[in-house]
């Protein structure tokens, strides 16, 4: 059923917002992890060994997908706001970009 909240633009909005919040919350942890290199190579390496656990690897995969999703959603918004395109062209371009990106990432990450 098509309710005001059940159409592609609404889902694009939700994905963009949720991925954005998740990335913003992840950012301090990422910066702290990379900051471990302030004390030399060993602490960073110790953290990287810890991050090889399956659950952490799965989390990293989710984060990479969230980053790609936020990028695709952001490009869609910029196109909507700044390019004089017609709606169906924007939809096609977004679908194409999303498909290419998802295919590429799945191919490389599922190696």
């Amino acid at each position: 059923m098509r309710t005001p909240r059940n159409h592609p633009a609404w889902w694009a909005f939700v994905v963009h917002r949720v991925s954005g919040v998740a990335l913003a919350l992840f950012l301090p942890a990422h910066f702290l992890a990379m900051g471990l290199a302030l004390r030399g190579e060993a602490p960073l390496d110790e953290f990287l060994r810890w991050s090889e656990q399956p659950l952490v690897v799965a989390g990293e995969w989710v984060l990479v997908m969230l980053l790609a999703a936020h990028l695709a959603g952001g490009l869609r918004l910029l196109a909507l706001e700044f390019l004089p395109w017609r709606n169906w062209q924007k939809t096609l371009a977004t679908l194409a970009a999303g498909f290419v990106f998802a295919s590429g990432l799945i191919f490389v990450l599922a190696r």
Binding site: L27, G35, E41, D45, L67
Partner: protein, 113 residues
């Protein structure tokens, strides 16, 4: 609501979005390249230590992400939590500054200054 501030933040959000689009593409390609065959600190630091080009890239990336993230969280806090007004502006500023400082600290760590 201060209309002038809203315009400045709207423009800042779009400008940082354009910068971030380029940075994120580079970052994703680097991630995909770097994780092949496992990730080690030696490998990461061999790429970044003393490399001014990477350090410059990451400084731009960190500042753009901090500004973009802080403005984005401000919007979500206002629309989903009803958190707006001067306290929200203050919180956004603190988040932006904290993200910038933490990010720059990480850049210094991998650059090896």
């Amino acid at each position: 609501m201060n209309p002038r501030r809203e315009v400045v933040l709207w423009v800042a959000q779009r400008l940082t979005a354009v910068v971030l689009a380029l940075c994120v593409i580079v970052h994703l390609v680097t991630i995909i390249y770097a994780v092949r065959g496992g990730l080690t600190a030696a490998e990461i630091l061999a790429r970044t230590r003393g490399n001014v080009a990477w350090a410059t890239f990451y400084v731009i990336f960190v500042v753009a992400a901090a500004v973009h993230g802080a403005i984005g969280l401000r919007t979500v806090a206002a629309e989903w939590l009803g958190f707006r007004g001067e306290m929200a502006e203050f919180a956004m500023t603190i988040v932006g500054i904290a993200l910038t400082l933490l990010g720059l600290r990480a850049v210094v760590a991998v650059f090896g200054a």
